[in-house]
Subunit: 64 residues, 6 copies
């Protein structure tokens, strides 16, 4: 603990995911006084056809 869940679009590379896990964990350890081995981070990846912003699916949005 803490447990971190990140809701994001699929499509990130392995390198990006490795960096997310590493740097988010470091942020939690630094600021919450947690031991690294107690921190878990889960990336919940969603297709662009299953996530939206402003009421519009990401799959039907101009890139940006």
């Amino acid at each position: 603990m803490p447990e971190v869940v990140v809701y994001m679009l699929e499509g990130r590379t392995l390198e990006q995911k490795r960096g997310l896990i590493k740097d988010i964990t470091a942020a939690v350890v630094k600021n919450a006084g947690a031991k690294p081995e107690a921190v878990t981070v889960s990336l919940v990846e969603t297709a662009k056809t299953a996530k939206g912003k402003g009421g519009v699916l990401f799959s039907e949005m101009p890139a940006g």
Copy 2:
């Protein structure tokens, strides 16, 4: 903000997902005083073999 997460079975059509995102966003804008572009909705879709109700997997339940 707000951020909405919907836990549901997989299998909905693109049209259904588009409608969910659009109408949930409208419900949040109308009732929470949020700007549309600040509202995100993520559909977390789960296989019928990974979700249950009443202690029974949806994959092993009579349809209904």
Copy 3:
């Protein structure tokens, strides 16, 4: 099912919460083919000192 979770700042009125629950449920029933009595909506309310955007706490942000 589906189960909906809304992450939002605390401070909404009872009337706003009632409307959120009612209209989000209607959006799910209409678009996902769910029965109303199977849809749950949980509002997870967070203090302005426990939520941020752009790296800044809402409690330390100009209103907007």
Copy 4:
């Protein structure tokens, strides 16, 4: 209600998932005074390349 969400690595067998749903539901019914048919459990499965502990991806960790 209650609604239970389990964040776990993918790779469990159908038998394991069936047991998780059944036994977690029983635990909720026994301790929270809920009716079985009101309890939902969703297993959110994440690839080993999208989850980490101690800042390290499970895909890059020695098994253990």
Copy 5:
């Protein structure tokens, strides 16, 4: 890991919460092959004015 999150109404006693944590953890250990000390369970408690079923707030529903 796994990490379990339970979305429920507030109002359970300490004894009920202790039982939930204990029995859900046992269910995960038994079925997912996890070590007990790796399993976390968080109870996210919501007021009856912030949760609904069938489009109706629990605070405005007949008990049942």
Copy 6:
């Protein structure tokens, strides 16, 4: 997007929360190619009587 949710025990200071929001956001911007103003972080704080590890409530655990 991405949206980050952190499940943690209550009791952190404002300074700790400010740091968590700031540094987690920076980790997401750096690794996921997101714009800062699109990243939200919610801290879902749970009482020690509503969270457990290894089947034991934090409120009934020796500090450590």
